[in-house]
């Protein structure tokens, strides 16, 4: 029995693997919205059952939030690493629902100009991605009777809602979750068909505030003129976050802890196959809009941001309402790089807002919003080179080390709590529309993703 047998098994099993994924995608596991609590739970149960069906001893573990799924298989063997595989089974909300062409939780295969895709919420982020690893294990087990190394499976149901239970859970289960290396499948390829290992991640800071003007909603005839309008106030403050000349964030001290990318790393990124025109044009941009003097890749991977993710106040129904509302609301997230400290940054941003409030305006902050710093992977470990070779073989193209614009806070916690390095390999494409309507995952990503993990497992466990 050889790797080729496993790969052949992956190929013949593909239709059944797709059916399993479809079943998983039908579960509406939106973790941020309490209305879907039972669905999130159902997705955890589905995973437990699926792992059990491969002979992996898996359990759902209760937390104060959504459950974790933990599974174990195999025994320690000093010659090969014990890996922990991480993914998340929860998904983003689906709004705006009216922009979906098909119902988000009725997944289907669609033909597109780039080949067939699996359409539905979670198909790429992260159910489809996590199943690439599970399906690779299934094929391996079916061919070999056992897996090639000890594997701990660790699936989270709160990744899209700030992972409130993650740190306490890791701390309480430190011993159970220790391993030699974490494998994470929640990232994308730098360009279609270019296998990619993420070597750094941006961190994330979330915050939310409400500007309060008058005590009650006012009539814009009776109070228009003398009245302070919190929507105007909020617009002034949001606008003041930015310096339009330089494209920089204008919050004092925002760039503390940010480092320039070393020249050799920049050169490597420039040769990594990133298709800038496609990245921009596919979503309707003719140019990059970030900091002047930085390449598009640097803006995405190595520069921090302050982004408004939601902004609302006043009347938004049909027709018109002549109101000066009492409140205006704003949700923001920052992407952090280098040594930016989320707690210090939060204070700087809050000070920026408070310093700019007009007389008679107040601000109220949501104090339940978390933050985590940026992460840099330990790519000098031999497993990284082994995985790079395996990926290059599967995709017939040299695999690359890339940066990542997104944030996967668990990577930082694996390091700080479990002393565990992570290797991030993912097969998503930039046009997957994750977090957006009409999310999809290429069938190629799913199929070659499974084959890639089989090859990586083989490479990591070669004696």
């Amino acid at each position: 029995m050889s790797l080729d047998d496993v790969l052949a098994r992956v190929d013949t099993e593909l239709p059944a693997a797709m059916d399993r994924l479809m079943e998983f995608l039908r579960i509406q596991s939106i973790s941020t919205d309490p209305a879907f609590k039972a669905d999130v739970d159902k997705a955890a149960d589905w995973l437990v059952e699926d792992l059990n069906s491969i002979g992996i001893a898996a359990e759902k573990r209760v937390t104060p939030g959504h459950p974790m799924v933990v599974g174990h298989v195999g025994d320690d063997d000093g010659d090969v690493p014990h890996v922990l595989f991480y993914g998340h089974y929860d998904v983003q909300p689906v709004d705006p629902l009216e922009l979906w062409n098909t119902p988000p939780f009725e997944p289907r295969i669609e033909d597109t100009e780039n080949g067939p895709v699996i359409r539905g919420r979670g198909s790429s982020d992260d159910k489809g991605q996590l199943m690439t690893f599970v399906e690779a294990c299934r094929a391996w087990k079916e061919v070999h009777g056992s897996l090639p190394c000890r594997i701990t499976f660790f699936f989270e149901g709160e990744e899209e809602s700030g992972s409130p239970s993650l740190v306490p859970f890791l701390e309480q289960h430190k011993d159970e979750l220790k391993a030699d290396l974490a494998l994470v499948c929640d990232t994308s390829m730098v360009s279609r068909g270019v296998p990619s290992i993420a070597s750094q991640l941006r961190g994330m800071l979330k915050d939310e505030f409400t500007i309060i003007g008058p005590r009650i909603d006012l009539h814009s005839g009776h109070y228009g003129g003398p009245g302070l309008n919190p929507l105007r106030e909020l617009s002034k403050i949001v606008d003041s976050f930015y310096d339009d000349e330089t494209g920089k964030v204008a919050v004092e001290g925002f760039y503390e802890g940010v480092h320039e990318v070393p020249a050799d790393q920049l050169r490597q990124w420039q040769g990594c196959g990133f298709d800038e025109a496609d990245y921009l044009n596919s979503v309707g941009y003719t140019q990059a809009h970030g900091e002047k003097g930085y390449s598009t890749l640097e803006q995405q991977w190595a520069r921090p941001t302050l982004e408004v993710n939601g902004l609302w106040g006043g009347y938004n129904g049909a027709g018109s309402k002549t109101v000066i509302p009492s409140e205006a609301h704003c949700k923001i997230t920052c992407r952090l790089v280098g040594d930016m400290d989320p707690d210090k940054l939060r204070m700087k941003i809050r000070k920026h807002v408070e310093d700019r409030l007009s007389v008679d305006a107040k601000v109220v902050w949501d104090n339940d919003m978390e933050g985590s710093g940026a992460s840099v992977m330990n790519i000098t470990r031999p497993e990284f080179e082994a995985a790079r070779g395996a990926l290059s073989d599967e995709w017939n193209r040299e695999a690359v080390f890339t940066g990542m614009g997104g944030s996967i806070p668990v990577v930082g916690f694996f390091k700080s709590i479990l002393e565990l390095d992570s290797m991030l390999i993912g097969f998503a494409n930039d046009d997957d529309a994750i977090h957006s309507p009409n999310e999809k995952y290429d069938v190629e990503s799913f199929h070659k993703g499974i084959r890639s993990w089989a090859r990586v497992l083989d490479a990591l466990t070669k004696r």
Copy 2:
């Protein structure tokens, strides 16, 4: 039989009149929201039946939108004016519903430090106000057996949703609706207990636009940095509407057609009993926030505004969503004064927005939003002095001519289409929270309002 008999009848009938108003207020006649179409219709039916019960031949008249209610009573008599009474039976939406202390359509009497109030949507604007006139007519009829002059009743169900059917209806029913003078009860008193006749109204311009950035919602990790965020774009544009130094609107040509208030009128306004501290403090302001160099009354009555009434985009649910949304939305209204031309102003505002759009941002306008200019009443007509005397008698305080921050477009159309002057007398107070949660109407406004109209009818028809 004398005026005193009518006033006595108003006093004894008050409980029954309150019951009738309560019944009327229970009908959810929100005209701007299509979901309430049947309720708006029901309110029209209620009015027709109530007018019929006083012996007024009233009918519901179909329009392409919500119906009009038209009623006639009495014959022309050259010695006394034929009056047309106007009010509107539709109400504002109730959102944000969670800020109401009691259900908006379950009206009730509440005791407050300023005496008992009728709490509920429409209690002040405009069901309570229009019923003051209807109840005055009922009392008069019951005492005298007939009304003192020919009266046409004209009630609209689209005042809170831009009156789309009003102009065509007035044009089609020009002959039927002609009268000597329009009486309108949809305004407030300059201060509690100070009877007021509005001598000028601001006009109104409505507009709505959507800023479109990326083609789809984007992940703020993948695109944060290079991505143009329409929420930031919208904030920049809204902020650019204003000059914070002067408090003026910064749209080029905005003040074209605006005139300074003549010194004698300003002096009169300053003596009209306006309680500036109460006006500001009652809603939580310590100062006026409009144009520097203008008094609070001028800012409210005689200066134009550009107000944001609604602003929304991105995620506004529980928790966080790391999205760069595709769209950001904004509803605005302007209050117009003097000779400001709504159509020209609309073009100036649109140009201002379009001139400030970043590369890759687009704007889409809603072309269904209407506008109408400011109105100045013909207060030299003898009816104004007669009414002023009647009001002064009822309230034991000299009635005053005031400006008005609000807009009542029908007044302009009565003039332009029916060649009809309007006299605006209303009994609302500034703290009525019209268009806001917990709207109320003082029982004193209702009671003395009915008595006031009885006195005004008497004064206008004295031979």
